[in-house]
């Protein structure tokens, strides 16, 4: 346990190790730690920002949904109105059509009645002529007596 030159060798060794540490260890490790700290801080800030953005987006989305719902309501209402409009229109159209059809039918009936009446008249006329000819036993020229016959028909 006597003091000897180990004293100085140890001092020198310590200085060399401190120098190594100062040059090759401390700055490198501290730099990486600081960088990581910055990264983590940035990450946390980004996540905070993202949270805020998410909240804002949620509000916007809520408003959009409400607006869309109102719009949809309006559209449904419009559609309902349109529906009733179309229905009314269709009803009116149908009624008009019915009237038209009925009128056409009535006109047809009238026409047919007239035609039938004319035909009957003609037949009556020819029957009359036939009857008359039978009565006269003599062929009467229908053409000669056309005028007379027509007058007869008109009278029927």
């Amino acid at each position: 346990m006597n003091l000897n030159a180990t004293l100085f060798l140890q001092s020198i060794a310590m200085m060399i190790f401190v120098w190594f540490c100062m040059k090759y260890i401390w700055p490198v490790i501290l730099k990486s730690m600081d960088e990581r700290r910055e990264k983590i801080a940035e990450g946390l800030a980004a996540s905070d920002r993202a949270d805020k953005e998410l909240a804002a987006a949620k509000t916007v989305a809520g408003e959009e949904i409400r607006a869309a719902r109102e719009k949809a309501g309006e559209i449904v209402e419009q559609a309902n109105q349109r529906h009733s409009q179309i229905l009314d229109q269709a009803r009116e159209d149908a009624v008009a059509e019915r009237h038209r059809q009925v009128a056409a039918g009535e006109a047809d009936i009238a026409l047919s009645t007239n035609q039938a009446r004319d035909a009957l008249r003609a037949q009556v006329a020819s029957l009359a002529v036939l009857g008359a000819s039978r009565l006269l036993e003599k062929e009467i020229d229908a053409n000669v007596h056309r005028k007379l016959l027509d007058e007869l028909i008109a009278e029927i």
């Binding site: 346990m1 180990t6 540490c21 100062m22 090759y24 401390w26 960088e35």
Partner: protein, 358 residues
């Protein structure tokens, strides 16, 4: 270690453990290792404790490689567990430096880290069983260098050598001087030495009394200045030396006890129990623990087997010695860490005081 020569061999055992392997110039004028403590003392100042230098440099290299391996792979991404552990130490030192050092210096933080880790590693050498490395060195010295085993001294805890701790304290002392002069100038530094604690100017003394007061101040301040490295070095040395000594005493108690309780061993081997027997016994204990860790031996059975092995090897005293050794090792873990921490903190505080104006 038994019989008539017991007390002599016990003190020889302790002395052998506390003697450094000193290389220097003998009285006859040849350069070689000292063969006895007296010869080492006779070598005077220009001798080197080779074991202290070897183990301290080895620990320094271990420190450098460990931290350098992390520094080389350092990245700001997700750290590995090892990197986290190393960064934890760096962070710890950095926090202490920031708290205690009032000023800016590029040197102080790396210095604190080196001092803390290096001293911690050197102190940890104390936890290796006291006979292992000296026995190994003795066997090696005999086999490779043809030395007498009794002359191969080996003190494996560098911080239990006053040269190592005072060497580091001197380095810190030089830094204290450099810092004082750098931040306060030569005049400021000298002024602080002579104008404290009694400031003749502030006390309004006549000029004629100033030199006496200044000499008085200088004496007081020099004591303060020199007490710093001395307390720094001797505190660490004292703690580690005492710790080492207690480990040696415990080791001696149970090996001596084995002579009485385990008389069978002496009957088999004679007075000196051969080294290979201790190596074999240690191997058997390690094998038992290994089997336990492999899950091949239940915890209860492991205790029983260990107990039986201890009793077989050295009797009850041996078992008691093992328990004492374990207890002291656990307590010593605290001292090892605490002393490294204290050395670091005092270094920081002294340097902080050196660069501050008072």
């Amino acid at each position: 270690m038994s019989g008539d020569s017991e007390s002599i061999s016990q003190s020889a055992y302790i002395q052998h453990h506390l003697q450094n392997l000193t290389f220097g110039k003998t009285v006859e004028g040849t350069w070689r290792f000292a063969h006895s403590p007296a010869e080492a003392t006779a070598m005077g100042f220009w001798a080197v404790n080779v074991d202290t230098m070897f183990w301290s440099l080895l620990m320094g290299v271990v420190f450098f490689l460990l931290f350098r391996s992390v520094a080389r792979k350092a990245n700001s991404g997700v750290p590995s567990r090892f990197q986290s552990a190393i960064e934890g130490v760096v962070e710890f030192v950095d926090t202490n430096v920031r708290d205690s050092f009032h000023g800016t210096s590029r040197l102080i933080a790396p210095l604190a880290l080196t001092v803390f880790t290096w001293i911690f590693f050197m102190n940890c050498m104390d936890l290796i069983p006291v006979d292992w490395l000296p026995t190994l060195a003795g066997v090696g010295g005999q086999a490779f260098f043809g030395m007498d085993r009794a002359h191969v001294y080996q003190k494996v805890v560098p911080t239990a050598d006053v040269n190592a701790t005072m060497g580091m304290a001197i380095a810190v002392f030089i830094l204290i001087i450099i810092y004082s002069i750098r931040f306060k100038g030569v005049g400021g530094f000298l002024g602080e030495l002579v104008m404290n604690p009694l400031n003749p100017k502030e006390l309004g003394m006549p000029k004629i009394f100033w030199p006496f007061v200044m000499v008085f101040n200088l004496l007081l301040e020099l004591v303060t200045l020199f007490s710093r490295p001395v307390s720094l070095g001797l505190r660490l040395f004292g703690n580690m030396y005492a710790g080492e000594l207690i480990f040696i005493l415990i080791a001696m108690v149970f090996t001596a006890g084995s002579g009485i309780m385990g008389a069978g061993l002496s009957a088999i081997f004679g007075e000196h129990i051969p080294t290979w027997f201790w190596v074999a016994a240690t191997a058997v204990v390690f094998a038992t623990l290994w089997l336990n860790m492999k899950g091949k031996l239940s915890n209860g059975k492991t205790w029983l087997v260990l107990f039986a092995e201890m009793l077989l090897v050295g009797g009850l005293a041996f078992l008691g010695g093992q328990l004492m050794h374990f207890g002291w090792a656990v307590f010593h873990l605290l001292i090892v860490t605490l002393q490294a921490f204290i050395f670091m903190m005092l270094t920081i505080v002294y340097l902080s005081m050196a660069q501050e104006h008072h």
